[in-house]
Point group: C2
Chain length 295, copies 2
Amino acid sequence: MEILDGNAVSSDLLNSLADRVETYGEDKPCVAFIRVGEDPASISYVRKKEKTAARIGIQSRLKTFPESISQVALLDEISLLNSDSSVHGILVQAPLPAHIDECVIFNHVNPNKDVDGFNAKNLGLLCQEDEKAFVSCTPAGIIELVKRAGVDTQGKHVVVIGRSLIVGKPVGMLFLQKKLTGNATVTYCHSRTPDLAFHTKQADILVAAIGRPNFVTKPMIKSGAIIIDVGINRIADETRKSGFRLVGDVAFNEVAPEASFITPVPGGVGPMTVAMLMSNTVKAYEQSLKKHPTQ
Amino acid sequence: MEILDGNAVSSDLLNSLADRVETYGEDKPCVAFIRVGEDPASISYVRKKEKTAARIGIQSRLKTFPESISQVALLDEISLLNSDSSVHGILVQAPLPAHIDECVIFNHVNPNKDVDGFNAKNLGLLCQEDEKAFVSCTPAGIIELVKRAGVDTQGKHVVVIGRSLIVGKPVGMLFLQKKLTGNATVTYCHSRTPDLAFHTKQADILVAAIGRPNFVTKPMIKSGAIIIDVGINRIADETRKSGFRLVGDVAFNEVAPEASFITPVPGGVGPMTVAMLMSNTVKAYEQSLKKHPTQ
């Protein structure tokens, strides 16, 4: 069994991005973060993204709004960033309050600045296998981890648990693409799938993105499978100062000995998500230069 | 075994659409067809679509261009139709000549007039489960057939053979949606899937969209499965005046007795595709009225 070390791979990736950003001279990519409300997890994620950007020379701006902001007002704020040529990437931290339709917000972000890849146009370009598409960060990070592990995905059976727009659907579409780290047979399972284990036991590569702590257990996997754990679940832990600890969707201790590769939580998919966000920001910046070569 | 009669269902659907179109008075929906080159199948498909439109009171325009038309010139022609307010739907008949990038063409069609549903934005809206999305016609027709047969898809295992943008990918996304005629477990197989029969034998609903005549045989299916045959393959037949006959991707005679429902070729999915195109045109027309309520 080998650990797919997201910290190491993302660190490597971030170093390459830092070198690349350095070549730009004075002009730097800039990403804008929008955070609504004071959800502790959202605060922590955005802070992590700001720090990582700063570390590799990417500028960032944080715009925070109260939980009570209206959808219209939030759309207006996005419009301002859409038309601001000094901003190359825009990220609206999910989840948003219940009175705001997340898809309306995602679809309002200029597709060329959509570093989160949640805009309908980028989802469609991903389905079309267009290289210019911004692919959402967690799926892109998963593919990068699998690629760096030297896994040949062609003809492998990838089983995805979860059909979210943010992870499940796009990661399946990526494994299905007609190119390297694609060409896999892909099965989508979810909460309405009866006898989930029947499907997960077939997986050469299992992607768990359900959001339920320790959900995937040893009897659910095939010996030698590659296990990708997308879950980041906070469970109470009195021994920690914070009062909680993070666990994945996979019961790591019992599953890991059976797996060929497995991602830990934390330190697996999580850091890859942040690294891919930076990669998308650099891509948005470089694509903006091609569109405005006089800059 | 029951035949899923696409002719009957599409006829029913077209009658409803005709009634609806009649209520519009003088103002009628209009769809523009673009055909490039003289491919006999394309000519026949477009003619069928023109006739069906006329039958239900939808206006149509046909624009034909020589095989040699440049991509830029074709984009310009689409721009004219995009900005023509008397045109509500635009369909570019595929396949296009090799020197033209189909996705570039599809993505240039105004998403609000994209009655074929191949534009990246509509593909993305489909992934987002947005009701306003134009869903490509063959997948939408398949769902309609399954719905009219009274099949409960929730928890069923749908296996799709084929990962095309036009059929495979969208039909899987539809069966995966969190609503009626969705909530299925979905597996995508394709040319790189080893041991295809291992997967197809698990299917409660099998969608064959490979484009290979009589490819799916009896040993590949589970007894009682619902078989959806998307293939329209011309094979030589000297007994026919045309010199050919149409067969599906499924070896109908041996598979049908094992199936609970099966679509024939011709007369299954084919007529549904045309009916859904008309349905999309009506939808495009009605959505255009909502945007310009003064019309």
